[in-house]
């Protein structure tokens, strides 16, 4: 942990700020959420790492896709993700977002979440233990440090692809594209 290094703060305040102040959006997309309260509360105390639950997507910069994503949940997830301010990071929790997990043959769950929104990191487990979540946070720090947590850039660059996939599952989305310029690029 280089949180205490003043020199680094002066050199890269942006990176350091994003690293040590991860505000997670409070959105229980699936059963993985059950490990979040213990992580945030007294036994594990994620606040030591600057991880906090944020009340609204505008204030958050970390999105935990906690477990399976049903079709109905995908809509608010996309909406919430688009509302978040850049830079924003997403972490997929457990098996289900990776490849369907337990619900690989369910008609109402999304099998691979990274087809619809970009994911910066995946945590194995069903569900991941608090330890895994902490290690994931440190890995995310490393990624931010190296500039590798670029999911939001990927989203911007391939917005058309993501938007098409979202509409394929959800039907026409009832909000305007986040990056309209990316949508028009190929059309014109």
């Amino acid at each position: 942990m280089d949180r205490g290094k003043i020199s680094k703060w002066l050199k890269y305040p942006e990176k350091m700020g994003h690293k040590y102040s991860l505000w997670a959006i409070y959105f229980a997309t699936g059963c993985g959420i059950m490990e979040i309260p213990p992580v945030l509360t007294s036994r594990w105390d994620a606040e030591r790492f600057g991880v906090l639950p944020a009340a609204t997507p505008r204030q958050a910069n970390l999105f935990l896709i906690t477990g399976y994503v049903s079709v109905k949940t995908l809509r608010p997830i996309v909406r919430t993700y688009e509302l978040m301010r850049e830079p924003k990071y997403t972490v997929g929790f457990g098996s289900c977002p990776i490849n369907g997990g337990m619900y690989w043959d369910s008609y109402n769950t999304i099998k691979r979440v990274d087809k619809y929104i970009p994911i910066d990191g995946w945590i194995a487990g069903c569900m991941p233990r608090p330890e895994s979540i902490f290690i994931a946070v440190t890995k995310l720090w490393m990624m931010i440090d190296k500039g590798a947590a670029t999911g939001y850039i990927r989203y911007r660059e391939n917005y058309r692809y993501y938007r098409e996939n979202q509409e394929r599952i959800l039907g026409k989305l009832d909000w305007p594209p986040l990056y309209p310029e990316k949508m028009g690029e190929d059309n014109g």
Binding site: R43, T73, S106
Partner: protein, 367 residues
């Protein structure tokens, strides 16, 4: 005051919401005019998925229905299969099942105190109860090898015998917990602000509760002494001595107090189980999973989960897979009609804790 009517989405992305659930509120000023529960964010179609899996493959699946209180689902599925297939469960396994049930109930109640405190904007109690819940999760992990999904109670008994030192460890943790509960009382349950916030809020009468399908704390808070553990005892409950706490008011406060009082009972039940538990086998082997065909028949089994009556209606046509499985989760009636009824006319500030007081687990509503 502002008298415009606004439409407000309470959830699914909302700090006051525990679980992926949504309520559409029509509000005028600070009052809810109309509430529409909007579940389905966690719908996975368990009943359908189970029709595609052989009997034993369903056993890791069912517990996923309710993440907060998974063990009752394992037990009820095991009970259903055992009844259809005519399997006798060893005595010791029954006691172990009871212990797991009560530990799960404790964990669920503690988590719910967190949720309720959170809804009131009171995080101190939540921090404590969630922290204490972790010790119970540790116990369950020690016993079953899983933190949240234990996959432990399976048709024919339980999956492994108690590990060495489990009893001492459990009793120690129960002692600690029992030491902490009076502190909970001091800080939360006796907190004047909690009492004023919760008392008299979201009242439901006995008749309404029965009519709308309420079970569990919601029903018991209206004065009906209804608990499947007494009504139709299963596992080791017939051999145990415990009480069913009942309150008369039917409000948010009573429901929360019942949760608190049930925790005392759970602790005492676990202690009794350890005292009375016989030695012997814990698993009656079922046929090999690829060949297991459960005889033709249907069954309705029910039990008392942390939230109320959990029912399972299961039909087998003599194949290696169930033909139809239908869970009757306690949260479904609570989460839609009762919630909508109680929210009507409530203050926005109370929406969260009314929902929490109804003990609604969103994944259970959706299945």
């Amino acid at each position: 005051m502002d008298e415009r009517e606004l439409e407000l989405f309470f959830g699914p992305q909302h700090m006051g919401m525990v679980g992926n659930f949504s309520i559409t509120l029509k509000v005028r000023g600070d009052r809810v005019v109309e509430a529409r529960a909007n579940p389905g964010y966690l719908h996975r179609g368990f009943a359908k998925m189970m029709e595609y899996r052989v009997w034993i493959q369903n056993f890791p699946l069912v517990c996923r229905i309710n993440v907060m209180d998974p063990d009752p689902y394992e037990l009820i599925y095991a009970m259903g299969v055992e009844e259809l297939a005519g399997i006798e469960v060893p005595e010791r396994a029954k006691y172990i099942r009871t212990i797991v049930m009560e530990l799960s109930r404790l964990a669920s109640h503690l988590a719910w105190i967190w949720a309720y405190g959170n809804a009131l904007g009171f995080d101190t109690i939540g921090q404590w109860s969630m922290g204490d819940r972790d010790y119970i999760i540790d116990l369950l992990e020690f016993l079953t090898g899983g933190r949240i999904y234990h996959i432990y109670i399976w048709p024919g008994g339980v999956r492994r015998d108690l590990p060495d030192g489990f009893e001492e460890k459990t009793l120690k943790i129960l002692d600690t917990l029992e030491g902490h509960l009076p502190e909970y009382d001091d800080v939360f349950f006796n907190n004047r602000l909690f009492v004023t916030r919760a008392r008299g809020v979201a009242k439901i009468t006995k008749e309404e509760a029965i009519e709308l399908g309420a079970t569990g704390q919601v029903l018991r808070a209206t004065g009906v002494k209804m608990d499947i553990r007494k009504l139709e005892p299963y596992a080791a409950y017939p051999y145990l001595d415990f009480e069913i706490p009942v309150r008369e008011d039917g409000d948010s406060y009573s429901r929360m107090m019942l949760i608190r009082e049930e925790m005392d009972q759970s602790i005492s039940i676990i202690r009794q189980c350890f005292k009375k538990m016989p030695k012997g086998p814990v698993y009656h082997r079922v046929p090999n999973p690829f060949k297991w065909k459960v005889p033709k028949g249907e069954t309705y089994v029910r039990m008392e989960s942390a939230r109320g009556e959990l029912g399972l209606y299961m039909v087998s046509t003599g194949e290696d897979k169930p033909y139809r499985v239908h869970f009757r989760p306690p949260s479904l009636p609570h989460g839609i009609l009762i919630l909508e009824k109680l929210l009507k006319g409530a203050s926005i500030a109370d929406v969260g804790h009314i929902m929490m007081s109804l003990y609604i687990a969103a994944p259970e509503v959706d299945r």
